[in-house]
C-alpha cells in the first residue's frame, strides 16, 4: 500500500469515528447508540492498524486486534445485554433535546480544533492532523454523558471519551508501550463490567435506570 492510499484510509477511519459520535448524540434508540459505539470502536482499531503499518510497529498491530475485540465486540455485547435485561430501549426524555445537543456537539468540535493546534504544530504529519478529531470525539462523549439520563447512554458517553483518547494515542505515537495498552484494555473491560452490575442494582433498587432519580445523597 502506498503512503497516499494509507492516509486516505486513515482519514476515512478517523472521520468515521467522528460521525459515530454524532450518530450517538442524534439517535434515541439505545441499541442504535450502542451500534454507533461498536462502529466507532472498529474505526479506532483500523486507525491503530494503519498507524502500525505506517510506522512499521508490529506491536501496534497487536494493539489493533486488542482494540477490535474489546471495543467493537465484547463491550457492545455487554451493553446490549444490559438493554435487554433492563427492558429499556429508548432515551425517552433526554435532559437536553436532540437539536440543542447536536448544536452543542458542533460547537465542541470547533473548540477541539482550536485546542488541538498546539499538538498539530509539533509534528505536522498527515497522521497528527487527525488529532483534533480525537479531541472532538472525546468532547462528544462528554456531552452524551451529561445530556442523557439512561445508564447505558452514560456508559456509551464514557466509552466514546475513552475512544477519543485512544485515537489521539494512536495518531500521535502509533501506540503506547504494550504493557500500558494491555493494562488499559483490561481496566476498561472491568469498568464496563462493574457498571453493568451497578446498572442492574439501580434497576433493582429504583425500578428504572433513569439517573435523575439518583438525588438522595446531597448536602
Amino acid at each position: 500500500m502506498t503512503d497516499g492510499a494509507l492516509f486516505r484510509f486513515l482519514d476515512f477511519a478517523v472521520g468515521l469515528s467522528l460521525v459515530c459520535g454524532y450518530v450517538a448524540l442524534w439517535r434515541r434508540g439505545l441499541v442504535a447508540i450502542v451500534k454507533a459505539l461498536a462502529v466507532q470502536g472498529a474505526s479506532v482499531a483500523v486507525v491503530a492498524m494503519l498507524m502500525g503499518i505506517y510506522e512499521g510497529h508490529v506491536q501496534a498491530v497487536v494493539a489493533a486486534g486488542l482494540v477490535l475485540v474489546v471495543k467493537a465486540i465484547v463491550i457492545p455485547r455487554v451493553l446490549v445485554g444490559v438493554i435487554h435485561r433492563t427492558l429499556e430501549y429508548r432515551e425517552v426524555e433526554p435532559l437536553v433535546n436532540i437539536p440543542t445537543s447536536l448544536l452543542a456537539g458542533a460547537l465542541t468540535t470547533v473548540i477541539a480544533f482550536i485546542a488541538g493546534r498546539h499538538l498539530v504544530a509539533l509534528d505536522a504529519s498527515p497522521a497528527t492532523r487527525g488529532v483534533p478529531v480525537g479531541l472532538a470525539v472525546m468532547l462528544l462523549g462528554f456531552l452524551l454523558l451529561v445530556f442523557r439520563r439512561k445508564a447505558v447512554t452514560q456508559v456509551v458517553g464514557f466509552l466514546m471519551l475513552e475512544n477519543g483518547v485512544a485515537l489521539v494515542a494512536f495518531l500521535t505515537t502509533a501506540g503506547l508501550p504494550l504493557i500500558v495498552e494491555l493494562g488499559g484494555a483490561l481496566d476498561l473491560l472491568m469498568a464496563v463490567l462493574v457498571l453493568q452490575v451497578l446498572a442492574r442494582r439501580i434497576v433493582r433498587q429504583f425500578g428504572a435506570t433513569d439517573l435523575n432519580q439518583l438525588v438522595n445523597l446531597r448536602d
Binding site: 485546542a115 498546539h118 499538538l119 504544530a121 509539533l122 509534528d123 472525546m138 462528554f142 454523558l145 445508564a151 452514560q154 464514557f158 471519551l161 475513552e162 477519543g164 483518547v165 489521539v168 494515542a169 500521535t172 505515537t173 503506547l176 508501550p177 504493557i179 500500558v180 493494562g183 488499559g184 483490561l186 481496566d187 472491568m190 469498568a191 462493574v194 457498571l195 452490575v197 451497578l198 446498572a199 442494582r201 439501580i202 433498587q205 429504583f206 439517573l211 439518583l214 438522595n216 445523597l217 448536602d219
Partner: protein
Amino acid sequence: MKAIALSIPFLPAVAGVIALSRWRRIASWTGVTAPALVLVGGAVLGLFVAKGEVVEVFDGLVRVDALSAWMILLIGIVALIATTYGVGYMAAEVAQGHTNAKGARIYYALVQGFVAAMLVAVSTDNLGVMWVAVEATTIATAFLVGHRHTRASVEASWKYVVIASVGVTVAFLGTVLVYFASRHGSGATMRWSELVSAAGQLDPGVMRTAVGLLVVGYGTKAGLAPLHTWLPDAHSQAPAPVSALMSGVLVSVAVYAILRVKVISDLTLGPDHLRVLLLIAGVASVLLAGALLLAQTDYKRLLAYSSIEHVGLMAIGAAIGSRLAVAGLLLHMLGHGIAKAVGFCASGDILLASGSTRIADTTALLSRRPATGGAFGLALLALLGFPPFSLFASELAILRAGFAADMGWAASLTAAGLLVVFGAVLVYGQRMLLGRPVTETSWGSDSRATMVVPLAGGLILVAAIGVWMGPLQPLMEAAASVISS
C-alpha cells in the same frame, strides 16, 4: 532490595486470592499479615533509599525512591489499621445480617486488590503503569462502596465510578501527550526518571496541555474542589475500613501522582505554571469543606468533608513547593492518613452500635461507648491539628511556608477556612461525645479488643510522630528532595 521492592505489591494480591478460597478462617488473618509484611518491607526499603539510593527492577517497571518508600509506609500503616479492624467489623456486619459469608469473602479479596493496586501506583517509574494502577483502584473500590446494596450505596457507587473513571481518562490523555512530547524530544519514553532528565527538550506547548489534563484528571481522583462531588457520597457509604483506606491513602496516592507530574512540569514550564492551578484548587477545597461542614448532620460525611479540607492543604503545600512546604505536605499525608483511618474505623463501630449515621442519634458516646467514642474524639482532635498530634506540626509548616514564599493571601484564606472547620467539627464532636442521650436504649457490650487495639495504636503513632520523628526524619527529607529541587 530488588526482591523486596518487587514482592511488595504481590503480598496483598496473594492474600486477596487466599481470601477468595475456601479457607475462611485464615482468610481474614492473612489479610492482616499482608499489610504487616508490606510495612516491614517498606521500612527496610525506607532505610536503604533514605541515603539517596534508588531500587530499580525490570527497566523501571518497579522503581522505589525515597518518595515511593514514604508512600509504601503510609499505605502499609493505614492498611494494617483498616484490615485488623476490618476482621471484627465484617464479623459484626455478618452477624447483623447486612451481608453474608460470600459477601465477606468478596470484601476481603477486593480490599487486598485495592491495596495492591495502590502499591503498584506508587512503586513504578512508568507513568502509563501508574495510570493503569490508579484506574484499577476505582474498579476495586466500586463494589466496596456499594457493599450494602442499599439505594444510597448504589447511587454513591454509580456516581463514583462514572466521575472517577472520566477523570482518570482525562489523566490518560495527559499521559499520552507527555509520551508524544517525549517522542519529539529526546526519545519516546513513559519513564518518569527519564522524562525528568530530558525535561528541557519537551515541547512546552504540548506539555502545557498535558500537565493541565493530568492535574485535572488526578485531581478528580484526589477530590480537589470543584471536582470533589463524588467524594462525600462514596466515602460515607463505603464500609468503615474501606472509607479509612479511601480517605486515608487513596486521596494521597492521587496527590502523589500530581507531585510526580509537577516535578516534570516545573522543569519544563517553570514552577509558576502549576502553582496557580494548585493554589486555587487547594484554597477552594479548604473553604468549601469549611462551608459544608457548618451544617453537617451526618458524622461519616463530616469525616469525608474533612478529607477534602486536608487534600486542599496538601495541594497548597505542593503549590508552594519550597522544601519546608513539601516536607510539611509529606508529614501531613502520613498524619492525616492514620488519624482519618482511626476516625472512620471508630465511626464504623458507632454505626454498628447505633444503626444510624446521624449526629443527632449518636450523642453521649463517651458514656455509651467509651473505647471507640474516645478514639473517635481523639481522632477528631488530631484531624483539627491539636498538639501533640503530628498534624499540628505539618499544618503549621505548610502555612509558615506559604507566608515565607510571599503567598500570604492564600495562607491567610487557608487559615480562615481552617478556623471555620475547627469551629464546626469541635461543636459537632462535642455534641456527639458529651451531648445528652436521645434515647435510653443500651448499645450492648463494648467493642471487641481486635477493633479497639488498632485504633489506639494509630492514635499513639500519630502522637509519637508529632513528638519525635526518629528514623522517619531522614526518609522524609530524602523524599522532599525528590520533589523540591
